[in-house]
């Protein structure tokens, strides 16, 4: 269902990014913030960046995760987990899938 995250131009990956943007938008609207207000709270230099992210282009800078989580009313780890689902599904699957705790030994 997902493409190699390194090949971000594959349609599946692009769909994931757009879904991620939609999720961010839904979270922003759920807390009643405009794009400009969210930009101000997360320290974005220009608020069109928020619109860009919500379209699925670019990604939240990791050093801003805390600010974004606070602005969206989320725990940082919850935000990161959701972000990873869209930005890096492979890593997300390893860390958070139901089989994440299963270990397989190489014999």
């Amino acid at each position: 269902m997902y493409g190699n995250p390194q090949r971000r131009t594959s349609p599946d990956v692009q769909d994931l990014r757009r879904d991620g943007g939609k999720w961010l938008k839904e979270r922003r609207e759920a807390v009643g913030l405009s794009q400009r207000q969210l930009a101000d709270r997360v320290g974005a230099e220009y608020y069109t960046f928020i619109s860009q992210l919500e379209t699925g282009r670019g990604r939240i800078p990791p050093d801003r995760y805390q600010a974004w989580a606070k602005a969206l009313g989320l725990r940082p780890r919850d935000l990161v987990r959701e972000i990873l689902r869209f930005y890096d599904p492979i890593t997300h699957g390893i860390l958070f899938s139901e089989d994440a705790d299963d270990t397989q030994t190489m014999s």
């Binding site: 400009r36 230099e45 619109s51 282009r57």
Partner: protein, 498 residues
């Protein structure tokens, strides 16, 4: 590449990008793709209605440049440039960013190359992409970004490129730089289809003997036009690991197969303006290599083509011409570019030499020539997608015009400006202005304006570039020694009696 550009000056009722602005963005994409630089695009509107547009790197979707118009001000943000630029003058922003982030630098500080505003936009995105790629390479190789590659045997040799007679040195040593150079050369030529990369358009210096050859010529010798010469072979033949291809005497920037010139591409703009605040005149003497021709035999004679325009003793004269040009800008709704050049481009030689001259003083009223005065109505925006030069331009430096690059206040209506002009009487300028308005309406979206010394040239750039043999000119001579020339197809020109 065509000379069509986009007006980023006038906001439309819809806050989205105008059709012309979008066309310009997509033109950038086309230019980059043609040159092998893969990008993807996206755009959107904020919840407040402000538009944005991004160029992204194709392989990983990383944003290269973010363009936006926020609260009426333009923003350009490129991560690889390390900052944002904002302002009301999009052209000025582009010029500034390109100047601050050059990929190629003139080897000599006193030299420079002028490029069309559209070309500058392509260069901006390409530069941002190139710097982004180079930074990524540097990070991967665990060396500081911008540092030269250490291994001379595997790394590309420094690239020196001569464009329009001006030698440049590449700042970034990378394979992408060569691609950038190839793209830049095509843009500098304005040589039509961008897929014509097989044309060798620049002279590449041979690297020092102790460096591996990385001289990159985008064409094999058999693709050279007959008038070009090859010395030392394309690579390695001179034993120093490099060779050179020498163009014919006429700078390739101004050459076309029929020997005429792409004036519209040649008449304009700075790839690398002088450092901000330096005050130096950054315009390149593009036509300096062209042998001066005999002056046009018409009193007062315009300056010889190819030679720098002599300073006019009366600064009010220049101001008068600038005001005239500015009034035209206002009349045309701020959508026309005003080009300033120290020299007259080659393409104007023939038409100006054979120009019909009329004394502006004899133009009592436009009615006397059977032409009704034309109301000063702005051209429809959709018919005139043009960059605005952003104020008086560098040629006005020192002329005392006082206008800043971001000056969007172009003064009073034409009649008010006419009464404030020195030297010529009001009637002269009003009459000629009316004629120029008529010409502008006839030419439509192909209109451009060049100011060179004491001469204002209003011209059909499409005709000048692509049908130069069909172009003629009429010139109106003012009592103060200044001139206004209309250059275009014979059918476009007014039938003004001498």
């Amino acid at each position: 590449m065509s000379g069509r550009v986009v007006s980023f000056f006038k906001r439309t009722v819809s806050r989205d990008w105008s059709t012309q602005e979008l066309a310009e963005f997509y033109r950038v994409e086309a230019a980059l793709l043609q040159s092998g630089l893969r990008v993807s695009l996206d755009r959107g509107i904020t919840d407040e209605g402000d538009p944005w547009f991004v160029f992204c790197r194709a392989e990983d979707d990383e944003v290269i440049v973010h363009f936006a118009r926020i609260d009426g001000r333009y923003l350009i943000s490129a991560p690889s440039f390390g900052g944002n630029a904002t302002g009301q003058d999009f052209s000025a922003l582009v010029r500034d960013l390109v100047a601050r982030n050059p990929v190629l630098r003139p080897t000599r500080r006193d030299e420079n190359v002028t490029l069309h505003p559209s070309a500058l936009l392509v260069l901006l995105v390409a530069s941002a992409l190139l710097k982004m790629s180079h930074a990524a390479e540097a990070a991967a190789a665990e060396r500081p970004a911008g540092a030269a590659v250490a291994d001379p045997h595997t790394a590309p040799a420094p690239i020196r490129v001569t464009i329009a007679g001006v030698e440049h040195t590449a700042d970034l040593v990378s394979q992408e730089t060569q691609q950038y150079v190839a793209m830049l050369s095509v843009i500098a030529l304005g040589a039509g289809p961008l897929d014509n990369l097989s044309m060798p358009v620049f002279v590449v210096s041979a690297p020092p003997p102790d460096q591996s050859s990385a001289v990159h010529v985008p064409a094999s010798s058999h693709a050279l036009p007959e008038e070009w010469s090859v010395t030392g072979g394309e690579s390695g033949a001179d034993g120093a690991g490099g060779g050179s291809i020498t163009p014919p005497p006429v700078p390739p920037l101004l050459s076309t197969p029929d020997g005429s010139a792409h004036a519209h591409d040649a008449a304009i703009w700075q790839m690398q303006p002088a450092p901000i605040g330096s005050g130096a005149n950054p315009l390149a003497d593009v036509a300096a290599a062209i042998s001066p021709t005999a002056p046009v035999a018409a009193p007062p004679a315009p300056p010889p083509v190819g030679s720098p325009v002599a300073p006019v003793a009366n600064p009010g004269l220049i101001q008068g011409n600038h005001d005239l040009a500015s009034s035209l800008l206002q009349v045309f709704g701020g959508s026309e570019p005003i080009v300033h050049s120290d020299t007259l481009p080659t393409a104007f030689i023939a038409p100006l030499q054979s120009s019909v001259h009329t004394s502006a003083a004899t133009l009592a009223t436009p009615e006397s020539h059977g032409a009704a005065p034309v109301a000063a109505t702005p051209l429809m925006e959709s018919s005139s997608p043009l960059f605005v030069s952003g104020g008086p331009g560098p040629a006005a430096a020192g002329m005392g015009s006082g206008a800043s690059a971001a000056d969007t206040s172009f003064g009073a209506a034409p009649s008010a400006i006419a009464t404030s002009l020195p030297g010529p009487g009001t009637t002269e300028f009003v009459a000629v202005l009316s004629i120029m308005q008529n010409f502008a309406q006839v030419v439509g979206s192909h209109l451009a304006i060049l100011v060179s010394g004491n001469q204002v040239i209003e011209y059909d750039y499409f005709a000048v570039d692509y049908t130069p043999t069909a172009v003629s000119a009429v010139t109106y001579d003012f009592t103060d020694g200044s001139h206004v020339s209309l250059v275009g197809l014979r059918s476009e020109l007014p039938h003004t009696a001498v």
